[in-house]
Amino acid sequence: MAREIRHLRNVGIGLCALILTACSAPSDDGDGGDGASAAEEATSAEDFGGMDELVAAAQEEGELNVIALPPDWANYGEIIETFSEKYDIKVNSAQPDAASQDEINAANQLEGTDRAPDVFDLGQSVALANTDMFAPYQVETWDSIPDEFKDPDGTWVNDYGGYMSIGYDSNEVPEVSTLDDLLGSEFRGSVALNGDPTQAGAAFSGVVMAAIANGGSADDVAPGVEYFQKLNDAGNFLPVDPTPATVESGQTPVVIDWDYLNAALAEDVPGWTVVVPEEAVVGGYYFQAINADAPHPAAARLWQEFLYSDEGQNLWLKGGARPVRAEAMAEEGTIDQELYDALPPVEGEPVIPTNEQTEQAAQYLSENWAKVVG
């Protein structure tokens, strides 16, 4: 009995010693401790002492947590893979199909754990409502990002964008050039919208597009709701969430979605055609930001550097998205010209709804969208 107690006491002493060494480790290794806090504060690669040090600090962390990045969305699958191989950093991709608000929810719920997301890729309204959660950072290519696509401090930066489009299987349905074409009887049970416009950014922009095509504007989305009402009354609106699987199986022969998402489908579906309706060009950019409480602050910053490098921007372009530095890269000749030329042509001045317009339209939709699909 007495021996057991002594034995336990020894274990206790051992544990205390372990804890002490664990606690004192950072102070012994001054560089590591400073490095971690410096990474959290760093607003550019220079704060690390240059790109090489940033890469080293990120590799020290060894992991990067990303969230809500579907592999088939804007080529994120290849982007993650390339980054992971290039820097030998493990990328943990959580909830690939989650919505923007889920990213913020996850950051709040997992705050302080090493599973919290390091970086965000958000829709406009969610991004602008949560700027106090972001860490400002300016990538090395900062100067070639147009001013209207970035926060002056780099709290958020637009990463890629596109235009609302109609994608359709030309082997299944007649040619489409305007939204009104979709009201015909040949499109019975064929037209899908990517998500619910009261919840998903892409679907919301689809309604704005329909509004503009029918005499409305970003300030007045009622005609857009009326359009979908007509579509539903004609029996053409399909209440199915379109995915590459539903498109390949022929279940959703017409999909209203961002042009880069629609364009990505053309690879697997012969005859898949993408049009940006001339009478209603609606644009939208996503917002990239670093979580201020990122468990891997250096890796999060290296991810930004990678995304805004020529390589990262061209990878987005490969997914059919328009990278934010596209124009500057086209001038420099660093853009993949073949891919750039392959983007669906856009004519007319694009409408990009402001945050106020979005809020007002969202309010209208919350009261009226249910009538359309109810």
């Binding site: 309204s125 049970g189 998500g195 209440p239 969202a362 009261e367």
Partner: protein, 283 residues
């Protein structure tokens, strides 16, 4: 001495009370408090939002879905239970139906939604078969992904649940009562309307209420099936929490949950009053 012997039983309740506090009391209080707040301050804005046209429509859909599947489940489930109870307790038929009902009553969520999509969806087995053989399009414009689809899919677990909860009541009907009624000159019709049905009514109504609550609170099946619109209250709560378009509506989610608590409370009170009346003579 006597105190010592009475203490343990009440102590044994503690874990249960602890459970009740953590998983029922605290969440309920959180929901009620949250429903009357906005931005950390007292507000009735979210309660008022429950009376908007869209929210009322959703509530109506939810009640319609729950009530219709409860009635369909109760009627077909009790008929099936009656057929089962007629068979001998050891028969293969009875044993297989009861075990199947036990499994299917718990068969919900994503698996159930997928099973229906694989069967009746656009490229579902049955849809393709009917399309190829008799050129009939049962998929239409996607009714499976709206309220009609939910009614069909919910029925799939409501009927077996009814069988399970109603079977004991039917088993409690003693053959002697029927014999006594017949001896007194009752016809089959009179036995059912004047003896069996009054006896079974409280159990039947109770089971129907259980089915209603079961459907009213079900979330995963609907979430997996419906992506367009938020036809029922649990999906509207999801939208209030995860929408990337309408932000900052967490407290509306609390208000909607509060509304659901009230609906169930009203139904349960009505049931309690009903049972007290119908079972008065049983006492």
């Amino acid at each position: 001495m006597s105190r010592r012997t009475t203490l343990p039983p009440s102590l044994a309740l503690l874990p249960f009370l602890g459970f009740l506090t953590i998983f029922l009391l605290i969440p309920t209080v959180t929901v009620v408090v949250g429903a009357f707040q906005e931005g950390g301050e007292f507000s009735t804005a979210n309660i008022e939002a429950l009376f908007s046209e869209a929210a009322l429509r959703t509530l109506w859909n939810s009640v319609l879905l729950s009530a219709s599947t409860a009635v369909i489940g109760a009627v077909f489930g009790s008929l099936l239970a009656y057929i089962v109870v007629m068979a001998s307790p050891t028969s293969l038929f009875r044993r297989s139906v009861t075990s199947m009902a036990s499994v299917l009553a718990q068969f919900g969520g994503v698996t159930l939604a997928f099973a229906f999509i694989a069967t009746l969806g656009f490229s579902g087995v049955v849809t393709e078969l009917l399309r190829d053989t008799v050129n009939l399009d049962i998929f239409g414009t996607g009714w499976l992904f709206g309220l009609p689809g939910l009614i069909l899919v919910y029925t799939y677990f409501q009927i077996p649940l009814m069988v399970i909860v109603f079977l004991p009541a039917l088993e409690g009907l003693r053959p002697q009562w029927r014999e006594a009624a017949v001896n007194l000159g009752a016809t089959g019709w009179q036995y059912w309307t004047q003896v069996a049905i009054p006896l079974l009514r409280p159990a039947f109504l109770g089971a129907t209420l259980l089915l209603f609550a079961n459907a009213f609170a079900a979330y995963a099946t609907a979430a997996a099936l419906v992506s367009q619109g938020n036809p029922i209250v649990p999906l509207l709560i999801r939208a209030a929490l995860t929408s990337e378009i309408l932000l900052g509506r967490q407290n509306l989610a609390f208000a909607l949950a509060f509304q659901m608590i009230i609906v169930v409370a009203v139904v349960m009170t009505a049931y309690a009053l009903l049972v007290r009346r119908t079972s008065r003579w049983l006492r």
